[in-house]
Symmetry: C2
Subunit: 356 residues, 2 copies
């Protein structure tokens, strides 16, 4: 695409969760309209978009009509069935591209891609059944983690193995789904890089943020991360390497483990990322706007940070703290979800720490 | 209202222009839904709100149904017919209140209110016809400006009188509408204060911004304004005085002239204000969120500025500069208007100047 999409063009977004909602708002700020596609009529993004389709991801007719109405299609989550892409790609182009999407929805292809790129990952082996798990366990050792190849997120679909005796129960626990066994990595902290690449191949990376998890779910991201300059530079360079290798267009989240021996790539997400929400307060151009710029053919903006930020997720009943939170010099983002179930991401708060 | 509105409550917004649009986005960020009311189906705010009514402001039935669907009603412009308020107030409360609205839509009642409060305004006299204009002109002198009492904005409905001979044409030029004659004020600059007041009477004021107009339309607002500490303090204090006197709930824009003898109040606007758009980049809590907090009964946030900002309006064809503007470290806000007519506000850009 040589010219940016014209004002008023419609951007399709697969998935109407909080990420889709914040993408829709960013698109509006750049003069674009959005069309949200989600099976759930209560999905938060419908409230901030002009157009909406409520239909399952395997409804080829609804997907085709959706694609027909859009100048470009993007998505807020990676677990999109390939058949949905087939239906859409007849008429609309999809960013980030299919390769990035299909690769990252499968832990085995993702880790293989990263290793083939010369990057360091945790040791891993493919696991199909109890027998191959035993073989994998010999290679990887314990402690290790058995993870389903697809559909896992926020710690779901994962079983920790502390001794070889845990084998039999583990395969049952993931219902025999194709999996990988990952070795434990001894890391000092987790950081992530939010990186963007434009249709012309320009790359912009935000400062790495330092992530703290609770119960397998992101709790806080603090920027800047306390890491060595070398790790900071390596993080940004390897993110650029990944984007270029995929001929990627859009924003990607790259999760990294910091170890004494250098950085280990944990996971990539071909979309805007929870650990990039701090950019809404810390940067003139946040990750959501950057993604919209990328997929519409606009130039990327600088990923410069003008202030230090701590982002904290509001899970479940945390949202009830709102009146008290409102007293702080902090930016509140709520997602408009009606049921504050335990562990459910209801919103986040960006706290400002002015740079000295 | 003692408890804040619950998550998911619907906020009604009269007027679907860019201010309504940015209010709707701020409401979404706090977990509220919005219902936009505007006679124009192409109004920008419909694209970012869940609910919309397209109907004229004198359609009592549509207004009643609109009010019925809302937990609270606010507005983005002051030229709302009193009959519309009648229809709404049967079922929903309106913030800011009726007194602030009716007072500020008439230059004569507005200026009289400000003068009665002990504040300095430009000298003014009521004008009903050519005869009273001649009398007023004797009191005020030339140069002076004849302004319609209602419906004037962005320099519309104003005629400058340089000599007493201009009298006869002037009344014709404003079609005999009720008017006021204002004396010229010799000022060094115009500043404005964006001030907010909560349901509990708490007041928060943003730093005064310095405004530059072109052709009677706001061109840039720079924050901080270059003024003396005394003027800065006076500006904030008098804004608070105005809000308290009106028992005001919501955000107000207060335009001030800086003169050697102190501050002169030019105009008040009972709504979020173009000269407050810089808060989107300069503050954790911007004027739109502050307004939503006020009218929903949430505590106000701090109006602290963490960075210096220059806001520039994009008028008419300015919007075509977009790809070039996108290269800057600046925050772009476009309103999604389809026709870039000359002088029409199409968007704005917030440029960041990190504080030294």
């Amino acid at each position: 695409m040589s010219e940016p999409l014209p004002q008023g063009a419609v951007i399709g977004i697969l998935g109407g969760g909080q990420l889709g909602r914040m993408l829709a708002v960013a698109a509006a700020r750049l003069g674009y309209e959005t069309h949200i596609y989600d099976p759930d009529p209560a999905a938060p993004a419908f409230a901030t978009a002009r157009h909406g389709t409520v239909a399952p991801y395997d409804d080829a007719g609804a997907l085709a009509a959706f694609a027909e109405s859009c100048a470009v299609v993007t998505y807020e989550f990676e677990n999109i069935p390939p058949e949905a892409l087939d239906a859409i790609e007849q008429t609309a182009s999809i960013h980030p591209n299919r390769r990035a999407l299909t690769l990252s929805r499968d832990r085995l292809t993702e880790k293989t891609f990263l290793r083939d790129l010369g990057l360091t990952t945790a040791p891993f082996e493919a696991v199909e059944n109890t027998a191959t798990l035993a073989t994998a366990l010999e290679a990887i050792g314990t402690p290790s983690i058995l993870k389903t190849r697809t559909l896992g997120y926020d710690g779901k679909g994962q079983i920790r193995l502390d001794t070889p005796e845990d084998v039999s129960g583990a395969v049952d626990a993931i219902a025999g789904a194709p999996a990988i066994l990952e070795g434990f990595v001894s890391f000092t902290k987790e950081i992530s890089v939010i990186a963007a690449r434009s249709t012309t191949g320009a790359v912009a990376c935000y400062d790495p943020g330092e992530n703290v998890h609770r119960n397998g779910i992101l709790h806080t991201t603090t920027v800047p991360a306390e890491v060595t300059n070398r790790d900071r530079t390596d993080a940004v360079l390897l993110a650029g390497q990944i984007l270029n290798a995929l001929d990627y267009v859009g924003v990607m989240g790259v999760e990294l483990f910091v170890t004494k021996g250098g950085l280990i790539v944990n996971e990539i997400a071909p979309r805007v990322h929870n650990s990039g929400h701090w950019t809404q307060l810390g940067c003139a151009i946040d990750q959501f706007e950057q993604h919209i710029r990328a997929i519409t053919g606009l130039p990327l903006g600088p990923a410069t940070r003008h202030t230090d930020v701590v982002m904290e997720n509001l899970l479940g009943d945390d949202v009830l703290k709102l009146p008290a939170l409102a007293d702080e010099n902090a930016q509140i983002h709520l997602y408009g979800k009606s049921e504050p179930r335990p562990g459910r991401k209801m919103g986040h708060i960006n706290r400002l720490k002015p740079t000295a």
